[in-house]
């Protein structure tokens, strides 16, 4: 997995709470293979981004010229609630979004972002609203995320500190893979299983 350290990128404001993963990627695209060339980019926010004829909906934030190259999304509370589909993360990543800033996240989606080296940043509601206000006033402006320092620097140069679990932070900074961390523990796992299944032979 690619490590995540710092990111300075155009940020797009998404003024919406409870953005569910069905919205991030409609279900009909989940059957598609994630091809290394095309990827899931065309499916991101598909039904908000394109009309029934496949034409862009001009109002949608990522269709506005200034935000097209966004690498950061600033959204409302409970981003990524609903379905566990990891396709939502593939679509964000393949579009070029590497970090989402929101007041809160759906638990499964939060874990899915971390598993793919994306950074979910949790900042208070009023700060997220403030950031979206700045980005609407200055379309195409960038935000700077510094994971080691745990800050998001806004368009006026103010740094907002954010919290992240130290274990998640280390994994992102080093680009560690969970399977590797499991395999280090093989002897402990095997002795656990022997004892556990000894007490519950019907589960083995």
């Amino acid at each position: 997995m690619k490590p995540f350290t710092t990111l300075t990128a155009i940020a797009a404001p998404l003024d919406m709470a409870n953005v569910d993963t069905d919205r991030i990627i409609p279900v009909r695209f989940l059957r598609k293979l994630r091809n290394e060339k095309a990827g899931y980019d065309p499916y991101l926010f598909h039904d908000m981004r394109f009309d029934n004829n496949g034409n862009e909906i001009a109002d949608f934030v990522l269709n506005r010229p200034a935000y097209r190259k966004a690498g950061i999304l600033v959204a409302g509370a409970n981003f990524g609630c609903g379905s566990s589909r990891e396709g939502a993360v593939y679509a964000l990543l393949d579009y070029g979004i590497q970090a989402v800033i929101a007041p809160s996240f759906g638990d499964i989606h939060y874990a899915n972002e971390l598993q793919n080296g994306m950074l979910p940043v949790t900042l208070p509601e009023e700060i997220c609203r403030g950031l979206r206000g700045q980005l609407q006033a200055q379309p195409g402006a960038t935000l700077a995320i510094d994971l080691p320092a745990q800050t998001v620097t806004d368009t006026e140069g103010t740094a907002h500190p954010f919290m992240i679990d130290p274990v998640y932070k280390e994994r992102l900074l080093k680009g560690l893979d969970d399977i590797g961390l499991v395999l280090e523990n093989t002897p402990v796992i095997e002795s656990f299983e022997t004892r556990y299944h000894g007490e519950r032979p019907w589960l083995a």
Binding site: M16, E86, R200, W202, L203
Partner: protein, 471 residues
């Protein structure tokens, strides 16, 4: 003295293999389920040259993409080539990895969260995972069950364990007795309306109290199924005699001496007196009415006697914005009585409400009546389909003009093509009313099977208690 522990604490403690600094625990996973959508995880596994480490602890079933009509034609009934490929890919991946597979033509096939309990794979005290958010369903038998994405699913397939942070606990106590016509679905919609779709984020919910304890196993499965709709990491209910009776004799349940041994372990699981939860929420179950959703989030739910709220009256700016957008999408106006909403389609089924009790409740309403709208019922499993037919329920449905289909996820997420046409309004017993969930432009009202059957009969939102009383 050991301090009192919750049901969740006990399951967690017994599954921790090791811990890392920072509070990450490596958890043993007893049972993992896969379905057609798990192809990303299998693909990644193969790419790394790995195989499923504990095949006997994994189970596969085709449910999300299977057709619910024309099943006698097998795979040919699936018109979409991608979907057909996914169904085949699951079978292939299971064969390579030696994983038990309940395919489209297996008599045990059904929705993963229905067949787990039905086959006795789901048991009290277990950790259960699946690449599907409604895995919370299995918690109704006293398990810690949760959904994962493809990456974590791959880890489970490769190692049968998972690194996790211990979630917090929330106890939702529902007091009193439910009135006739009020079901598990109404209870859980009322809970979500009260605490919101992010109300339990980061928490495992234990549902407790007399109204919960009074629910059948089917009703409990419905409640835990929608724990995720309140943002919960999992939902669970303490196991009791009703659970043990339900499990006894099922295909994968322990037998003979193992059964006695398991029973002794299960009886020690319920939360101890005085166990502490991080949060507590209480509801009066006796005050509940049949519920339904009016908007595009499961929290936008009201009792059937209610009226569409005025978004301007909502204090929270984001909730106001969501409600405005929802009313536009749903084409509804503030102040309108819910019972004035016209319904165009109805669907009974899904991992939320596709069980025998749900089918019986629908049949009680439909008996001797006709559906005024196109409607279809997809039982939660093929086993259940046979059971319902043995009870003659399918006759009642067919006589009412309702389609009696094969088992699968069907119109809950409409992955198999069982879509609701754009602009049409569907009374649905599923779990999500998100924009486009049942098809692009489809409008979903979530409700119980009895309420959906009532909507079939009248073509509008109807308090089912009126139909049952006058019959």
């Amino acid at each position: 003295m050991v301090s009192p522990r919750t049901l969740f604490d006990k399951i967690w403690d017994s599954h921790v293999i090791t811990e890392r600094p920072g509070g990450d625990a490596l958890l043993h996973i007893d049972r993992n389920f896969v379905h057609e959508g798990s192809f990303h995880a299998f693909g990644a596994l193969a790419k790394e040259g790995r195989k499923v480490r504990k095949p006997r602890q994994n189970f596969a079933v085709a449910d999300h993409y299977v057709p619910t009509v024309g099943r006698e034609r097998g795979l040919d009934a699936t018109e979409d080539a991608d979907a057909r490929h996914m169904i085949q890919l699951l079978e292939e991946n299971c064969r390579i990895n030696n994983v038990a597979h309940f395919g489209m033509d297996d008599e045990r096939q059904g929705i993963v969260h229905v067949i787990g309990p039905e086959l006795g794979i789901t048991q009290p005290g277990l950790t259960i995972t699946c690449g599907d958010s409604h895995t919370s369903t299995h918690g109704a038998l006293g398990a810690y069950a949760f959904g994962t994405g493809a990456s974590q699913l791959k880890q489970i397939l490769a190692t049968q364990c998972l690194w996790l942070k211990k979630p917090k606990t929330l106890r939702v106590t529902v007091n009193g007795r439910l009135a006739p016509g009020v079901t598990g679905k109404d209870v859980v919609l009322a809970i979500i309306a009260k605490i919101g779709t992010a109300g339990a984020t980061g928490h495992v919910i234990e549902f407790a109290g007399p109204a919960i304890r009074g629910l059948t196993i089917e009703g409990r499965l419905t409640v835990c199924n929608m724990a995720i709709e309140a943002g919960g990491r999992a939902g669970m209910i303490a196991p009791d005699d009703a659970v043990y009776e339900y499990l006894h004799g099922r295909e994968y349940a322990p037998k003979g001496a193992d059964w006695e041994r398991a029973l002794a372990q299960w009886r020690a699981l319920p939360s101890d007196e005085g166990a502490r939860f991080d949060r507590e929420v209480t509801l009066d179950g006796s005050a509940l009415e049949p519920m339904l959703t009016w908007g595009t989030s499961p929290e936008e739910a009201l009792p059937v006697s209610g009226r569409i709220p005025d978004p301007q009256s909502l204090g929270d700016a984001d909730k106001r914005a969501h409600a405005l957008q929802a009313l536009a999408y749903m084409d509804l106006k503030p102040g309108m009585a819910l019972t004035d909403i016209r319904i165009d389609r109805a669907f009974i089924g899904s991992c939320t409400n596709g069980r025998i009790e749900d089918l019986r409740a629908a049949a009680a309403v439909l008996k001797g009546r006709k559906s005024m709208i196109p409607a279809w019922i997809s039982p939660g499993s093929t086993t259940l389909k046979a059971q319902a037919e043995a009870e003659g329920l399918h006759r009642i449905f067919l006589d009412a003009g309702v389609e009696w289909r094969a088992s699968g996820c069907s119109s809950c997420a409409a992955m198999n093509g069982d879509k609701v046409p754009p602009g049409l309004r569907c009374a649905s017993t599923s779990n999500r009313n998100f924009e486009g969930r049942q098809g692009k432009g489809a409008r979903t009202h979530l409700m119980s099977p009895a309420m959906a059957a009532a909507a079939m009969v009248t073509g509008r939102v109807t308090d089912v208690r009126q139909l049952l009383a006058g019959h």
